[in-house]
């Protein structure tokens, strides 16, 4: 029986009829579906396979630093000094939003209005019932129940948590000093669900609960979401247009190292908890062909991938930003002084 095993393994190991992926990348879970969609179409068109695996933003950063993949992906942009220290360059690919969702029978999606400060107080545990005065003040005319609020947050580290906590830190000074912003924080109160799925499940099962999920999950599950007040003072609902408005009104040109958080952007239609996801590559490519293939793939994604991204509820970058980034590649990613690939 042992012999059978060994022979079997050997035979399978030799069986190499199909082509393996030509480039590999790893990192953030948030863009994994859209990269998979792009990779599928790209392979059909060009025959080049791009294997992307979602092991987490931290994993992506670790692996590109360990040079086990051709590019890393992170929902949390690295600061310019971190980039310089590691010799990396980062650029964004798509945009998405984080949506507060809740379980309040009888309330329609978008009916409840919240501000960042109030949301922060809820997650701090200071506001404990739905009919609290702070919430009622924003929602005159809505019949708020006296149900206790159960907070649901992420138990695993995640770019979604990073965006959400960064936003709370921006709008609620007590949150900034007590908890801070990171992909994994010490939550003052509440339950931890694993993944967007876990949070959505807990919210669905517990009346009076509130949590936060990526837009795709809120949309696919038809969750009851809140309308948030943005920087311009307007209460907006989370839609692809709202994320696009946030991305469009952001100061890309003035962001060194492409370090930019799309939170609380000035446009009147902008969703305040928006974020982009980033690709990390080495400035000096040891393998210029692999580097060129990666850039060619993302150029294809910029030029031809918008429709596919939108079909999965992701928001493409504004055209001006894409043009700017493609120009950046020529002088940012080089091998022996020459650009690895010049994008059109």
């Amino acid at each position: 029986m042992l012999k059978m095993f060994v022979v079997g393994v050997g035979a399978l190991a030799i069986a190499t009829t199909a082509a393996a992926a030509d480039i590999s990348g790893a990192g953030a879970t948030f863009p994994a579906p859209v990269y998979a969609k792009w990779a599928e179409a790209y392979k059909a068109q060009t025959g080049v396979g791009l294997n992307y695996q979602a092991i987490g933003s931290g994993g992506g950063i670790k692996q590109i630093k360990a040079k086990t993949v051709d590019f890393g992906a992170s929902d949390k942009p690295l600061k310019p000094d971190e980039l310089a220290a590691a010799g990396l360059y980062q650029f964004p690919t798509v945009v998405g939003g984080v949506v507060p969702v809740m379980n309040l029978p009888g309330i329609a999606p978008g009916q409840i209005k919240l501000t960042g400060a109030v949301l922060g107080d809820i997650f701090l545990g200071k506001i404990t019932r739905w009919n609290a005065p702070e919430i009622a003040a924003l929602n005159k005319g809505v019949n708020l129940p006296a149900t206790p609020i159960t907070v649901v947050h992420r138990s695993d580290g995640s770019g979604t948590s990073f965006l959400f906590t960064s936003y709370l830190a921006m709008k609620n000074s007590e949150w900034a000093s007590k908890v801070g912003a990171s992909d994994s924080v010490q939550w003052p109160t509440g339950l931890g669900g694993k993944g967007n799925d876990g949070v959505a499940a807990f919210v669905k099962q517990t009346a009076g609960s509130i949590g936060y999920v990526e837009y795709a999950y809120a949309k696919q599950n038809h969750s009851t979401f809140a309308s948030m007040q943005n920087k311009a003072g307007k209460f907006v609902q989370p839609t692809a247009a709202a994320f696009g408005a946030a991305a469009g009104s952001a100061p890309w040109l003035r962001s060194p190292g492409n370090y930019i958080l799309l939170l609380d952007q000035p446009s009147a239609a902008a969703w305040p908890i928006t974020g982009a996801t980033f690709i990390l590559m080495y400035r000096n490519q040891e393998n210029p062909t692999a580097g060129a293939e990666v850039l060619k793939f993302f150029e294809w994604g910029y030029n031809k991938g918008d429709g596919l991204a939108a079909s999965l509820d992701y928001v493409p970058l504004p055209a001006t930003v894409k043009g700017l980034l493609k120009k950046q590649w020529a002088h940012s990613i080089t091998a022996g002084g020459k650009p690895v690939y010049v994008a059109k």
């Binding site: 092991i55 987490g56 933003s57 931290g58 994993g59 950063i61 670790k62 949390k76 159960t150 138990s155 695993d156 580290g157 995640s158 770019g159 908890v179 801070g180 912003a181 990171s182 992909d183 994994s184 924080v185 010490q186 939550w187 509440g190 339950l191 931890g192 669900g193 694993k194 876990g198 499940a201 807990f202 099962q205 517990t206």
Partner: protein
Amino acid sequence: MGAETLSLPRRPLYESSMDTELASPRGAPPGHALGEIIFRYACAGAATFLLAALAGVVVSLFIGGLPAFRAFGFGFLTSTTWNPVNEVYGAAGPIVGTLITSFLSLLVALPLALGVSVFLVEFCPVKLSRPIAIAVELLAGIPSIVYGMWGLFVLAPWFAAHVQMPIAMDFAPDSLIGKIFSGTPNGANIFTASLILAIMILPYMAAVFRELFLTVPPQVREAAYGLGCTPFEVIRAVVIPYVRRGMIGVIMLGLGRALGETMAVTFIIGNSHGFPHSLFDSGSTIASTVANEFAEATSDMHTSALIALGFLLFVITFIVLAVARLLLREAKV
């Protein structure tokens, strides 16, 4: 009942003669001597390789966790603060959660596994025994993530509705029962996590128990029946003493599995890092914390704290198993 005379002697009887076989004047049969040596060293080599592999894992974990140990010292073991923003970490919450869930799950799974294996060996109609045995082993083959998802989507809501709510309704929060069973009624807590763990380790233990029971020679059992024992007495006084050492091994196996199980627990335990205040409170285990946070941990101290947690799990396993062995040695005397 005299089972001791039937148990296997600790040393094989023939050991001395085998060792001097090569020195005997007749000499060894042709071809056997080399084969004997190769086989013996292959076996010993495999065992040593195993030891080396484990040593490698533990050493690499210790080295990885050293920055965290240096930074927090002994407080790492007693503090419940787990703050990735301020980079302050304490392992008390996960440690307590790991110990409680593992022992609770063993407490639930052991009688069940014993019951199942005894049923299969003694009472089950012969035609049914193989299908049921295969069915129980099938439980072992279900991926742990399915247990996690089943726990989250099926067990948790049922538990919240049928166990937690009635208890919350019927008992005042200040009473003893109220205190032991307090907690948000959504089914995601230490107790349900232990139940899932129990279902996970049950098939391993039941399968090996059954194999152990099947090694008891029929003559031994028939002799007991011949003396007029009821099946219960046969099991209690003849079969179990015969296989006792193996049973301990199975319990170790089950406990070990429970201590390290990740996916099934992490979905349903609620994942809060503090001390659980009651059985129905959410908590965390070492394995679930590492699984949740390792992929995203960017800072070196966070990663090091997680690896330190992993090292601590090895230490806990070490201590638990050592204590179990000590208790056993005393019980035999």
